[in-house]
């Protein structure tokens, strides 16, 4: 190689080194794990993988791809866990969580939890960048341990109730219709999961939604009032009486609806699923609207939100909202009991398409895909 080439290569390498220079952040001290002393779970391993933290100008950028191994130190089987993720000064007034539902971890056994996050924040310096703590653990007897700052108790319990409902359903199908019937049922579940439209959704609780990149440049889409239709589940304890939202293009604003408790127990929390249909006739679940105040037995209430919701297909393009429908997805009573749709309620084809599958149904379909029918049967008989 000539001297000229060697020198040129040296210049190139020096330039590359100079460009690559960014001060890095010590990730081991940047991540803090906080588990209470009496925690039923203990951390047995932490792998930061290819995580990296860098300081760029006035900003800190953290890309974390970590894996934790947790050990069940309790005497009960763990059915679900939620970890609270706090990124000091990073989140604009918010926090994150990583939950693992549909578990069945025996005492003494270990299981992994993946932690993948990205954050950008001003470089204020000092203190751990990310703090991970235990928000809650649900056991097989539906008892709960944890701070419950994120209402993990409710979400973990709902997932566990859905898991029991779906396992029971598949076991009944196996017993009544045999292996062929179970195959048909699991393939139908697989089909429903595959056919769900993929949409990206944004929410602003207050204020104006920032303009979308694909919004029309010249047309101002005027708001129009749109009434909800309601999808009734025979077993639902709450009726939706009337409701509307302001709709403009791909945005639904300030949804409000009148609800009535049909039950003789008061309700602490309920959620309404919001389904949107676009001009092409595609219908999808855009989000849920929670009601977080007490709804008296046989009482009525007005559920009102100021938020704006925007949907767009994951594959690109734009949705023009043509109609809206609502349905009850879950209810938590004041006595801490719950209502979820039954498999019978979900037999309605439209509701079957809109209501999300339970994590357990997704896990069982994945097991069938990977290991086949006999593995699924063994799992159901476990």
């Amino acid at each position: 190689m000539s001297t000229l080439i060697k020198r040129a290569a040296a210049v190139v390498l020096c330039a590359a080194w100079a460009i690559a220079q960014e001060s890095t952040v010590d990730l081991k001290s940047g991540l803090k794990l906080n588990l209470p002393k009496d925690s039923p779970l203990t951390v047995t391993a932490l792998d930061l993988g290819d995580s990296k933290g860098t300081v760029r100008g006035g900003a800190v950028v953290l890309d974390m791809h970590a894996s934790l191994r947790l050990r069940n130190g309790s005497g009960k089987r763990v059915k679900g866990v939620t970890l609270l993720v706090l990124a000091q000064e990073a989140s604009p007034g918010g926090k994150g969580s990583v939950a693992v539902p549909a578990l069945d971890v025996a005492p003494g056994d270990e299981f992994p939890v993946r932690l993948d996050l990205r954050m950008v924040r001003p470089n204020a310096g000092g203190g751990p960048l990310v703090q991970v703590s235990l928000d809650g653990v649900l056991f097989d007897d539906l008892t709960f341990f944890g701070d419950n700052r994120l209402n993990s108790r409710r979400s973990l319990t709902l997932w566990e109730l859905e898991a029991r409902r779906d396992r029971k359903h598949f076991v009944q199908v196996l017993e009544s219709r045999g292996e062929e019937g179970l195959t048909k049922e699991i393939l139908a579940a697989k089909g429903r999961q595959a056919e769900r439209p993929r949409v990206d959704v944004q929410v602003v609780r207050r204020g104006t939604m920032p303009r979308a990149a694909n919004a029309p440049a010249t047309n101002v889409e005027m708001d129009r009032d749109m009434q909800f239709s309601f999808l009734r589940m025979p077993g639902a304890p709450v009726d939706l009486m009337a409701g509307a939202a302001r709709v403009a293009g791909d945005e639904a604003k300030a949804p409000h609806m009148e609800i009535r408790n049909r039950d003789s127990k008061s309700i602490r929390h309920l959620e309404i699923g919001l389904a949107l249909k676009d001009a092409q006739g595609r219908e999808f679940l855009a989000g849920t609207v929670p009601y977080t105040e007490t709804l008296a037995a046989k009482g009525t209430a007005l559920l009102k939100e100021e938020s704006t919701l925007r949907v767009r297909p994951s594959a690109g393009g734009r949705v023009m909202i043509e109609s809206m429908a609502g349905f009850v997805t879950n209810v938590e009573y004041s006595d801490s009991s719950y209502w979820i749709p039954s498999r019978g309620d979900l037999n309605d084809p439209r509701l079957g398409r809109l209501v999300p599958p339970s994590p357990e149904e997704q896990r069982l379909v994945q097991l069938y895909n990977r290991k086949g029918l006999q593995a699924l049967i063994a799992e159901l008989r476990r």
Binding site: A15, H65, D116, R118, M119, R205
Partner: protein
């Protein structure tokens, strides 16, 4: 009957037609008196020309003149050949050749400069983003993950890998967003959520 053209008859008379056309024209001429007359007339033209050459000015020999003209034509042809050869050599050496190594280094350096410019622009953009006044917090659930952003600070819980997409996303107008992933190997379900305070 179709007669050969007058040009064909002239060339036939001078024995300048190609073989097949000559045979065809000969067959026609042998049976056509009119064409025979034309051919005879054309055949007499060289003899008339020879007679004319005898009337050239005194001291001018047509044969010498023709030889000189041929020599001049040859000279012209050779000169133009020489000029063409010189021009093509000039074209070859007009631009200096670049070795492949130098070209590779040059390309890499240009690429590096562009990459450096892009990196600098990205850093500046991020620095500007964190200095800006906050916008309304947008909560987003997409195939790539869930996040909160006010245009200044961002918190995003991402997919376990860049190739993985969320199997299910959801938002709540209460101020949260969730994305569900299934590990293809273990079947373990992970649900990432962000919440606005």
């Amino acid at each position: 009957m179709k007669h050969p053209s007058i040009q064909e008859l002239a060339l036939f008379a001078g024995r300048d037609l190609p073989l097949w056309t000559r045979w065809r024209t000969a067959r026609h001429v042998s049976g056509c008196e009119q064409c025979q007359r034309e051919v005879r007339a054309f055949s007499e033209v060289p003899r008339a020309a020879m007679a004319e050459s005898g009337a050239m000015p005194p001291g001018v020999d047509w044969n010498v003149l023709a030889a000189e003209m041929r020599a001049n034509i040859h000279l012209g042809l050779e000169a133009s050949e020489a000029i063409r050869a010189y021009d093509s050599k000039q074209d070859e050496h007009r631009y200096p050749s670049l070795s492949w190594k130098a070209a590779a280094v040059g390309t890499a350096f240009a690429g590096l400069l562009m990459f450096g410019y892009w990196m600098g622009a990205m850093k500046k953009q991020e620095a500007i983003a964190v200095m800006r006044a906050p916008e309304p917090v947008v909560i987003e659930a997409s195939a790539g993950g869930v996040g909160l952003s006010d245009g200044r600070k961002t918190l995003k819980l991402t997919a376990p890998s860049e190739t993985r997409r969320a199997d299910l996303v959801s938002v709540s107008t209460g101020g949260s967003a969730g994305a569900r992933y299934i590990d293809e190997e273990t079947g373990q379900v992970t649900v990432n959520n962000v919440y606005l305070d």
